[in-house]
């Protein structure tokens, strides 16, 4: 059996073996990253490029179990980590990788770095998590939307009447007050992102600026980093 065969567990290392391109966005809740990646999607589609969009924690394979685990508060740091890895692996092997091989530009709202940051904050050590996610290719561009903690907190707290239990990191029992817990959790996540920034080559976007300003910068970086021509619908992609 060929080592790169999708039927096996082993993943090829090194250079991409696909013609597609992968762009991921990372950042705190309320950093505006989802808004920006949706604008990128809309731009690329209107320009006639082959685009696929995927978001964190959205696979149908484990959705029922994740919902149950959260409702009944069954999840611990380790199982929280693994159930999200299963979710990601499902989207990765059934959508992200096949689409990259078919020559699509894949846009990911959150990627493995979200798992690294959240799991580390929950006390699951990063080398273990990184090894679990070893099958995932590094994105061609990872935008990190850096925002003042106060700004992101305000954005979330203004739009959410109630913070969800895990979203607020209530499972860590740092504070009985959801808002206080959320602030502590986000602050720790922010530190994890900063510590990963250089290691994984994040492209930092100042998310304190207006939406169009950020979008202009993001589009510029994409144009300079990726030759978009082969991704036009009428082109046949070459590996």
């Amino acid at each position: 059996m060929d080592a790169s065969s999708p039927e096996t567990l082993r993943q090829p290392a090194g250079a991409p073996d696909y013609p597609g391109r992968l762009i991921a966005v990372e950042g705190l809740d309320g950093s505006g990253k989802s808004t920006q990646i949706r604008l990128v999607k809309s731009w690329l589609e209107q320009e006639g490029y082959r685009v696929f969009f995927t978001e964190w924690n959205s696979s149908t394979l484990v959705k029922q179990a994740t919902t149950k685990g959260k409702q009944r508060q069954l999840l611990t740091p380790t199982t929280f980590s693994l159930i999200h890895a299963t979710d990601f692996a499902d989207r990765y092997q059934r959508q992200i990788l096949p689409l990259l091989r078919a020559g699509f530009i894949v846009l990911a709202d959150r990627y493995v770095y979200t798992a690294y940051a959240r799991d580390a904050v929950r006390g699951v050590d990063q080398p273990w998590v990184e090894k679990v996610y070893e099958f995932a290719r590094k994105p061609d561009i990872t935008f990190y939307f850096r925002v003042e903690l106060e700004v992101s907190l305000r954005r979330i707290l203004e739009t959410r009447a109630v913070l969800k239990y895990h979203e607020a990191g209530m499972d860590m029992h740092w504070s009985a007050d959801p808002v206080e817990s959320f602030k502590m959790f986000q602050s720790k996540i922010s530190m994890e992102y900063e510590s990963m920034r250089e290691k994984f080559g994040f492209v930092v976007i100042d998310a304190g600026r207006t939406i169009p300003e950020q979008q202009e910068e993001v589009r510029g970086i994409i144009r300079r980093t990726i030759d978009l021509r082969p991704f036009k619908h009428q082109q046949v992609p070459q590996a």
Binding site: M1, A3, P6, E7, T8, L9, R10, L61, V62, Q64, A65, K68, G69, R72, L74, L75, T76, P77, T78, T79, L82, I83, A85, T86, A89, D90, Q93, R94, R122, G123, V124, D125, W128, K131, V132, E134, F135
Partner: protein, 230 residues
């Protein structure tokens, strides 16, 4: 028991004193694990030991969902592996560790070795698989019920009159007929188990014999570990 982890302790575990004992029965489907465990539970309870059992795919968190998924067509080797790892750690955290902390004897119907062997047969990086289960508790003893592939076929047909898709390794495309695939897959698994057996010092039990003989063998071995008369 002496608390030992394969690599690192789980981040959830603060108090690592575990007065209970953890015994594992490994072996393929049709090796008689479940029958043997049921009889061992009765024997141990008669002697005043509190016993808890668990086994692959029985977690509250994902057991049901995993069962559903194995009947579908969307699992890949990777997602199946991660799904089972989630199931395993949920049981370790919510069943095995609490029982050991309370002084129970825990008998598990398969453990991480089956999961690792399945991954290795599917060409997983051994280091990846070992990392995945590096936070598991090392059992006091692993009993490996060894059965020849030919006898397994007979036992599976006696039990279900059909071979299970996964136990026949049909996802590996070893053969287009299920019988040959089953035999090939079980041989591959056996070869991996032999390696794991050396690495982790399994106590091998010849399970080609009758149920009563296997049970007597297991009781004698368990009694020695527990320091009681068989």
């Amino acid at each position: 028991m002496k608390t030992r982890w394969f690599r690192e302790p789980l981040p959830e575990v603060k108090d690592a004193s575990l007065p209970g004992r953890l015994f594992v029965l490994e072996g393929p489907d049709g090796s008689g694990r479940t029958t043997q465990i049921n009889q061992l539970v009765q024997w141990l309870e008669k002697r005043g030991f509190a016993v808890r059992t668990c086994g692959l795919g029985r977690s509250e968190l994902v057991g049901e969902e995993l069962e559903q998924a194995t009947h579908g067509t969307i699992l890949t080797p990777l997602t199946r592996s991660l799904f089972y790892a989630t199931d395993f750690y949920d049981q370790l955290l919510h069943t095995i560790l609490p029982a050991l902390r309370a002084g129970f004897i825990v008998l598990t119907d398969r453990y991480i070795y089956t999961l690792i062997a399945r991954d290795l047969v599917r060409k997983a990086d051994p280091e990846w698989a070992r990392n995945l289960y590096g936070r598991a508790l090392v059992p006091d003893v692993v009993f490996h019920l060894r059965v020849s592939a030919q006898r397994l076929v007979q036992r599976n047909f006696e039990k279900n009159s059909t071979l299970d898709y996964w136990e026949a390794g049909m996802d590996l495309c070893l053969s287009d007929n299920m019988f040959d695939s089953f035999v090939k897959y079980q041989r591959l698994m056996n070869a991996r188990f032999l390696e794991l057996s050396k690495e982790h010092q399994f106590e091998v039990v010849d399970a080609n014999r009758r149920v009563g003989l296997i049970q007597a063998d297991l009781r004698a071995k368990l009694a020695a570990h527990l320091g009681i008369a068989p």
